[in-house]
């Protein structure tokens, strides 16, 4: 099973960028219902800048690429999602240990570090109806599948399915973090926009590694 190198990470980011562009209106509509109608625009602005940076300043190794991505997101997005997604990638970078290709366990460790970065930045707990509700089950499922000996592609598929489930599970929840929390009980029965974009992020990772194919 191939490790994830700079090309694999780039593929991931490009796939994420294009699904965000495609889903921009959906993300904004979800945010209009329980927030301020900008999550699609925010994510699209950020991922467009990330893809532009890939071309403008190609990175030599995974850590550099992840750091650059995090910096670009922090600089270009703003709002809640900017620092959160930015921190996610910024925290992934050192967890790569400087490897030029990330073995499955290293990639999983880096993803978990990213998710922990989201928590340390945003203080969300499970069930708060945030992106964390999609990210946490994803990294858990990833670790479980890798622990059971699944290849990375399969394990990421499982992670993506878990992220989708986590996203769907936000629907009945009453938000306790972010802008949706202002709505109190009225936030229930709506899918969280950040959990939705986070599920796209994990799906993009699964697709990027699947494309890579067997070594």
């Amino acid at each position: 099973m191939a490790a994830v190198d700079v090309d694999g990470l780039e593929r991931w980011l490009r796939l994420f960028a294009s699904s965000v562009a495609e889903q921009q209106d959906t993300l904004t509509a979800l945010d209009a219902a329980i927030g301020d109608a900008d999550h699609g625009a925010n994510m699209n602005r950020g991922m467009t800048a990330v893809v532009d940076a890939l071309a403008a300043t190609p990175a030599d190794d995974p850590a550099a690429l992840l750091k650059q991505t995090g910096m670009v997101l922090v600089r270009s997005v703003g709002g809640a999602s900017g620092p959160l997604y930015g921190t996610f990638f910024l925290r992934m970078a050192p967890a790569t240990g400087g490897a030029s290709a990330l073995e499955p366990e290293v990639f999983a460790k880096a993803l978990r570090a990213g998710v922990e970065g989201v928590v340390s930045r945003g203080k969300a707990e499970l069930g708060d109806k945030t992106m964390y509700d999609a990210l946490a089950p994803a990294v858990d499922a990833l670790d479980a599948a890798l622990g059971a000996g699944d290849p990375l592609a399969d394990a990421l598929r499982a992670a993506s399915a878990a992220a989708d489930q986590g996203r769907d599970a936000t629907i009945p929840l009453v938000a306790r973090k972010g802008r949706a929390s202002y709505l109190g009980d009225r936030s229930a029965d709506h899918q969280d926009p950040g959990a939705t974009s986070a599920a796209l992020l994990i799906a993009a990772a699964a697709a990027a590694v699947a494309e890579q194919g067997p070594p």
Partner: protein, 333 residues
């Protein structure tokens, strides 16, 4: 969507061109979207920095000037600015006495200002303190949530701290003062219509002709509840009751009564609301000693209003009355 603009993607940038040209007493860093006093930094004075998403005009740039803020960072419409902007603005207003960040309590703003403070600490030895403004009683205050929104209280906080900064008070004193004014203030808002975010191009929420939202935020967030449309008198009750339930405004000190327009509500109606609110305060034994009526913290083209009460002791009253020269608040100079 009917708006005066060329392309929603350029609205904020192009509007800042106009701010710069129309107001020579302000400077604009277009790259970083920072608006600042032409005479910044003021040597020896604590620099006061605020900012947030665009779409709340005259907040935030309308509060820059002698006696109030030194600079603000402008984000996209309803989107917090980013740490680089804030870190750069912190440098611009650092007159050697430190910089106070006045942060309106929204998850995005708080996190971005946090990261800016981290950046500033790493890059310079400027002393930075941050005070979070959170006055909106529509939202329950809790350790486990994002907490209360920062809304109308920002006006007395920024005005009063601005006056105190001109007197040469220290960073710590100003941070304490900001917290005190914030603690003394409560707000509650309502909407008759939704706003339309330019990049979305349609109203954030649909509000039937016979309904309104109570307990809204200033970013088109729907309110706590949707109720049938009511008279100004009834609306005043729905806004004042939760304010008075949340904090005691009776007793020796008077209050600033601030009736704020959300953007599309005419002054004719805001003054009528002022009269209704004042009548309720009379009944409750709360004494308005200062007034502010108008669109100061808006939500694009939303129709509606909010009411802010800020308790003013003698010290705060003197600071409120002190000279100020900004686009939105100006007196005494």
């Amino acid at each position: 969507m009917k708006k005066l603009l060329n392309d929603p993607a350029n609205l904020v940038a192009e509007s800042l061109r106009g701010v710069e040209r129309a107001h020579p007493e302000l400077r604009v860093d277009h790259d970083q979207r920072i608006i600042y006093r032409a005479d910044a930094p003021v040597t020896g004075k604590v620099g006061l920095l605020s900012g947030g998403g665009s779409g709340h005009e005259p907040a935030h740039a309308g509060f820059i000037g002698p006696g109030m803020l030194d600079a603000v960072c402008a984000g996209e419409v309803f989107t917090s600015p980013v740490p680089d902007q804030m870190a750069e603005a912190t440098k611009k207003v650092d007159g050697g006495a430190g910089v106070l960040h006045l942060v309106w309590n929204y998850t995005g703003d708080v996190m971005n200002f946090d990261m800016a403070a981290e950046l500033a600490a790493a890059e310079t030895d400027t002393a930075v303190e941050a005070v979070v403004i959170n006055d909106d009683v529509a939202v329950e205050d809790s350790l486990f949530t994002a907490g209360r929104r920062g809304t109308g209280a920002a006006v007395p906080v920024e005005k009063i701290v601005g006056a105190a900064a001109e007197q040469g008070r220290s960073l710590t004193e100003l941070a304490d003062l900001a917290r005190r004014v914030n603690d003394n203030s409560r707000s509650m808002g309502m909407a008759l219509t939704s706003c339309t975010v330019p990049a979305k191009g349609s109203p954030t929420f649909d509000l039937p002709e016979n309904e309104m939202e109570i307990g809204i935020g200033i970013h088109g967030e729907p309110g706590r509840r949707r109720v049938p449309i009511a008279t100004a008198r009834e609306i005043a009750e729905m806004l004042v009751e939760p304010l008075l339930a949340d904090r005691d405004f009776t007793g020796g000190d008077g209050v600033l009564l601030f009736v704020n327009g959300m953007g599309a509500t005419p002054m004719l109606e805001l003054h009528l609301m002022y009269a209704e609110v004042a009548a309720l305060l009379d009944k409750a034994g709360v004494v308005p000693v200062r007034s502010l009526v108008g669109p100061y913290v808006t939500s694009l083209d939303m129709a509606g209003c909010s009411v802010t009460l800020a308790r003013l002791d003698d010290d705060l009253l003197r600071l409120w009355d002190a000279p100020v020269a900004t686009l939105a608040l100006r007196w005494g100079m």
